[in-house]
C-alpha cells in the first residue's frame, strides 16, 4: 500500500510538466537577488528617475520641455561649456600622457621594478582625488606654492605675472591630470600587454621600422581602447566636484559647482531647473559611457 503510493507520488512528480515546476520555483530563485534589486531600485534608480521626471515637469506637475530649454540661458550654458572643456582637456592630455607613460614602462626596455612601482603608484594616485588633491596643488602652484616660489627665486619667472592662475581653466585641468593620467595608465597597460609579439616580428620581417610598426600596427589596434578610456576620463572629470570646490570655492562656474549651489539654496529660483541641470549631467556622462562601452567591445576584437 505505502509502496504503491510512493511510486505513484514519484510518477506524479515526474509527469508534472516542466513549466509548472518552474512556475513554483521561480519566485524562490528571485528571492536570492531581491535585496540587491530592491536596494538598487530604492537608492540608485528611483532617485535618479525622480530627478529626470522632474526635469520634464513644471511646478504644476505638467509635462514640459521648458526646463530643458532654460538650460540654454547664458550663465548655465557657459557652465556646461567650461565643464565640457575642462573635462575634455584633462581627458585628452591625461590620455596622451598616460599612453606615453604606459608605452614607456611596458615596451621601453626599462627595468621591471619601474613597471611595478608605476602601476602601484597609479593605483594610489587615481584614488587620490577630492579635497586633499586641491590642497596639494595649492601648496605646489598656488601663489605661495613651492614651485611658484622656486621658479621666481631661481629663474626670475613669476608665473602669476605671466597670466597663470591655479584657480582657472588650466589650473583645474592640471590638477585633474593628477588622477586622470594614472587612470589611463591602469586601463591601457593591459591593452599594450595584449599586443602580440608576433605582430612586431611580422612587421619587422616585412621590413617595417619601429616607427612604422607603431604607426601602422600597434596604434590602430590600441586606438579603440585609447578613445574609449579617454571618454571614461571625460565622464570621470565631468562629475567631479570636490577638487574644484576645494580649489576655487565657487569662483569657477562649472556645472557640478552650480548644481551644488542649487541643491544648497535654490540659486536658480526654480527647483525644476535644478532637476534639468542634473539631467543634463547624467545625459553627458551617460553618452560618454555608452561610447566607452562601444569602443571597449571593439577593442576586444583584437586584444585577447
Amino acid at each position: 500500500m505505502t509502496q504503491t503510493s510512493i511510486t505513484a507520488a514519484l510518477e506524479a512528480a515526474q509527469e508534472a510538466p516542466p513549466a509548472e515546476r518552474r512556475g513554483v520555483r521561480l519566485p524562490l530563485h528571485w528571492l536570492g537577488v531581491a535585496p540587491f534589486f530592491i536596494f538598487a531600485l530604492m537608492f540608485l534608480i528611483l532617485p535618479t528617475l525622480y530627478l529626470i521626471v522632474g526635469a520634464f515637469q513644471n511646478n504644476e506637475g505638467e509635462f514640459t520641455f521648458a526646463n530643458i530649454a532654460e538650460l540654454m540661458q547664458p550663465s548655465i550654458r557657459s557652465a556646461y561649456w567650461i565643464s565640457i572643456r575642462i573635462s575634455l582637456a584633462s581627458a585628452l592630455l591625461g590620455g596622451l600622457a598616460g599612453l606615453a607613460i604606459a608605452v614607456a614602462i611596458v615596451r621601453g626596455g626599462l627595468p621591471e621594478w619601474i613597471r611595478a612601482a608605476t602601476l602601484t603608484f597609479s593605483g594610489v594616485a587615481s584614488n587620490f582625488a577630492g579635497v586633499p588633491l586641491a590642497f596639494a596643488f595649492i601648496a605646489t602652484l598656488g601663489r605661495l606654492g613651492l614651485v611658484t616660489v622656486l621658479l621666481n627665486t631661481w629663474f626670475g619667472i613669476n608665473i602669476y605675472a605671466l597670466g597663470f592662475n591655479l584657480l582657472s581653466f588650466w589650473g583645474l585641468t592640471l590638477t585633474y591630470l593628477f588622477f586622470q593620467i594614472p587612470l589611463m595608465v591602469l586601463i591601457i597597460v593591459p591593452a599594450i600587454d595584449g599586443l602580440k609579439k608576433e605582430w612586431a616580428e611580422a612587421a619587422a620581417t616585412l621590413g617595417a621600422t619601429q616607427a612604422q610598426y607603431w604607426r601602422m600596427v600597434a596604434l590602430p589596434v590600441l586606438w579603440p581602447s585609447f578613445l574609449g578610456t579617454v571618454l571614461l576620463l571625460f565622464a570621470n572629470a565631468f562629475g567631479a566636484i570636490a577638487t574644484a570646490y576645494a580649489l576655487t570655492g565657487s569662483q569657477l562656474n562649472i556645472v557640478p559647482i552650480l548644481l551644488y549651489a542649487q541643491i544648497r539654496g535654490d540659486v536658480l529660483h526654480n527647483p525644476h531647473l535644478g532637476y534639468a541641470l542634473a539631467f543634463g549631467m547624467i545625459f553627458i556622462t551617460g553618452v560618454a559611457n555608452i561610447f566607452y562601452i562601444w569602443f571597449r567591445t571593439r577593442s576586444e576584437r583584437w586584444l585577447k
Binding site: F36, F128, G130, T140, T285, G286
Partner: protein, 263 residues
C-alpha cells in the same frame, strides 16, 4: 632600440616629476608652520584638534558600516547569480556600473528630494536616519568596485561543488554563504573593502550635502580657513590612500594560494 630606451627614460622622468613635485611641495609646505625652521607643528595642530578627531572617527565608522553593507549586499547576490541565475549577470553588472555613470552629486540630490523630512520615508528627518542614508549612498558609490572584486574572487572557486557539498552535509543558505563562500573569497572581499575605505574616508560631496559631520567637509573647511594645516591633511590623506592600496597589493599576494587550496 637605444633611441627608444632614452625616449622611455625621458617619458618616465617627466611623469615622475609631475607626480612627485606636488607631493614634495605639499610635504615641504606642511613643515613650514613655525617661522624659519622645519617642524611637525602643523601635524600636531591638526591631530590635536578635537574636530579632526570627531570627524575622522565618524568617517571611519561610516566607512566600516559601508563595507559591511556592501559585503551583505554584494556577496550573496554575486554568489546567487553565479550559481543559479547566470542569465541575469549582464543586468546586475549594468546596475553595478550605474554609479560610475550617474555622478555622486546627482545621486545625493535625488536622495534629498526623495527622502526629505516630509516624504513617506523620511531618512533625513533624524540625525540617525541621515547617517544611515550616508552609509547607503557610500555603498552605492562602492558598488562597482565591491562587485567586481567579489565576482573575480568567486571566479577562482568552484561555487557549485562547494554548495552541493555543503548541502549534502545539511547546511542552510546562511551557513553556506557565511561559512563556506565568504571565507573562500575573503581576500577579494578585503581588497574591495580597502578600496571602499579609500573612497569613503575623505568623500566630500555626499557628506557635505547631507550635512554629515564627516572628514571630507572638515578638510574643506580647514582649507578655507587655515594655511599650513591643509598641507598636513593632504599628506595624511595621501598616506591613508597609500596604506589602503598597499593593503590590496599585499592581499593580492595571498589570493591565488587561498583560492586554490584543495580542501
Amino acid at each position: 632600440m637605444r633611441a627608444s630606451r632614452i625616449w622611455a627614460w625621458v617619458t618616465f622622468g617627466l611623469g615622475a616629476t609631475f607626480f612627485f613635485l606636488p607631493l614634495i611641495a605639499t610635504f615641504e609646505f606642511s613643515l613650514r608652520m613655525k617661522r624659519g625652521v622645519y617642524s611637525f607643528e602643523a601635524y600636531r595642530s591638526v591631530i590635536g584638534d578635537t574636530r579632526f578627531q570627531e570627524t575622522f572617527a565618524y568617517s571611519v565608522t561610516v566607512a566600516v558600516m559601508t563595507i559591511l553593507l556592501g559585503v551583505l549586499l554584494v556577496v550573496p547576490t554575486a554568489y546567487w547569480i553565479r550559481l543559479r541565475m547566470p542569465h541575469l549577470r549582464p543586468v546586475v553588472e549594468f546596475v553595478t556600473l550605474l554609479p560610475l555613470i550617474i555622478p555622486a552629486i546627482v545621486i545625493v540630490f535625488g536622495y534629498i528630494r526623495m527622502y526629505g523630512s516630509s516624504s513617506p520615508l523620511p531618512f533625513l528627518a533624524t540625525r540617525r536616519g541621515t547617517d544611515v542614508l550616508l552609509v547607503i549612498g557610500y555603498a552605492t558609490l562602492a558598488l562597482p568596485y565591491m562587485y567586481r572584486a567579489v565576482d573575480t574572487g568567486l571566479r577562482t572557486i568552484d561555487v557549485r561543488t562547494l554548495t552541493e557539498a555543503a548541502q549534502i552535509l545539511g547546511a542552510g543558505w546562511a551557513t553556506i554563504i557565511g561559512r563556506i563562500i565568504l571565507p573562500n573569497v575573503l581576500i577579494a572581499v578585503l581588497s574591495g573593502a580597502f578600496l571602499t575605505f579609500a573612497i569613503v574616508i575623505g568623500e566630500f560631496t555626499m557628506a557635505s550635502l547631507l550635512n554629515a559631520p564627516a572628514f571630507g567637509p572638515y578638510m574643506q573647511n580647514i582649507g578655507a580657513n587655515r594655511a599650513y594645516e591643509p598641507a598636513a591633511l593632504a599628506i595624511i590623506a595621501f598616506v591613508i590612500t597609500w596604506a589602503c592600496m598597499g593593503g590590496i597589493q599585499i592581499l593580492a599576494r595571498f589570493a591565488p594560494r587561498s583560492a586554490n587550496r584543495p580542501n
